[in-house]
């Protein structure tokens, strides 16, 4: 394996390691809300979208109806459709391969792929490795974590004490920095941050990130002016 490939995999495994602990938290939460170990594990293996799974458990746990819980979980998952459109450029061939790739489409895999410098080219070998390194590492970490959390159940302490909620924005910040070198990238990122700050206090979870993508419109105007 080339040093460059290895470096991308190291990043992916680091993210997967952090996700492991979040998986533990999910397993514990599912058990304390009356789910079986099997249900918690099957959910992480099949749904494989952290935020949606937490939302489902949370809404059902706070006496919400099944319909409300499913709707909330799927609203959160809707950004994966947008991610899928980005990822499809890196995996243009093979129905079966793309069907498998689709299961790995989440924040971390799309983010690590998009952070590679050939992400906009075709073919994009580095972006593919980034996506697979992030996706597979997170899949393994998330599911092992869920299993452990579900088995251990309620005897684990407060997960927020580990401070992992700070690690994830920091990861995305690290992936973002290379995209701030152009003026259009800087403008887009700045506006996206502003939109999320304005929308997040009142919109349901999952919507702010989608709203933030609207920053692409003014960013495109700047980029087209740059190119002239």
């Amino acid at each position: 394996m080339s040093p460059e490939r290895r470096a991308i995999w190291v990043d992916g495994v680091a993210i997967g390691g952090a996700i492991f602990y979040v998986g533990v938290a999910f397993g514990v939460l599912a058990r304390t809300n009356g789910w079986s170990v099997t249900q918690a594990c099957v959910m992480s293996l099949t749904v494989f979208t952290g935020a949606s799974q937490f939302a489902l458990v949370g809404i059902l746990g706070s006496a919400g109806t099944s319909a409300a819980a499913v709707a909330g979980a799927l609203l959160l998952a809707s950004r994966n459709a947008v991610y899928g459109a980005v990822v499809s450029r890196w995996f243009p061939d093979g129905v079966l391969r793309r069907a498998a790739v689709a299961q790995l489409v989440i924040d971390e895999s799309t983010g690590l792929g998009a952070a590679q410098r050939d992400a906009l080219e075709q073919p994009a070998p580095r972006a593919r490795i980034g996506f697979l390194a992030g996706g597979l590492s997170v899949y393994v970490g998330w599911n092992l974590g869920t299993l452990l959390g579900a088995i251990v159940g309620r005897s684990i302490g407060d997960v927020s004490a580990l401070g992992l909620d700070a690690a994830f924005p920091a990861v995305f910040l690290a992936l973002l920095v290379p995209h701030l070198r152009t003026r259009s990238g800087l403008v887009t990122a700045g506006i996206a941050v502003g939109i999320v700050a304005l929308v997040a206090p009142w919109a349901p979870a999952g919507v702010p990130v989608l709203a933030g993508l609207a920053a692409i419109v003014p960013g495109t105007v700047v980029r087209l002016a740059e190119a002239k």
């Binding site: 990043d11 099949t46 499913v70 979980a73 459709a81 790739v101 983010g111 990861v171 973002l176 692409i216």
Partner: protein, 101 residues
């Protein structure tokens, strides 16, 4: 929790992912959509940073989280490896929460 609810979410979540992957595969982008596509990572990653930074929690949680992300940002600026960024930002926040009680 019923298996029906779980199955519904599992199928729905996968169909959303697959819709994106299979939807736009053969599109040939023009110059405008090419420029827009180039900015997807910047918008996406910036939106994720902000939304995960200000996600739910008490004022103490938010403050300690911001401190950890700040330390992470400093390390990113110093070109530290991602593993170090993850460990340092989580450890800073964990320590701050320990102190804040």
């Amino acid at each position: 929790m019923s298996w029906w609810t779980l199955g519904g979410v599992a199928v729905g979540a996968y169909l959303l992912k697959a819709a994106g992957v299979f939807g736009l595969s053969r599109a040939r982008p023009g110059p405008v959509s090419e420029a827009a596509l180039a900015l997807v990572p910047a918008a996406l990653l910036a939106a994720l940073v902000m939304s995960q930074l200000i996600t739910d929690g008490s004022a103490t949680e938010l403050m300690t989280r911001t401190l950890g992300v700040g330390v992470g940002g400093l390390l990113v600026w110093r070109r530290a490896p991602l593993v170090l960024v993850i460990v340092a930002s989580a450890a800073t926040t964990a320590l701050a929460r320990l102190v804040a009680g």
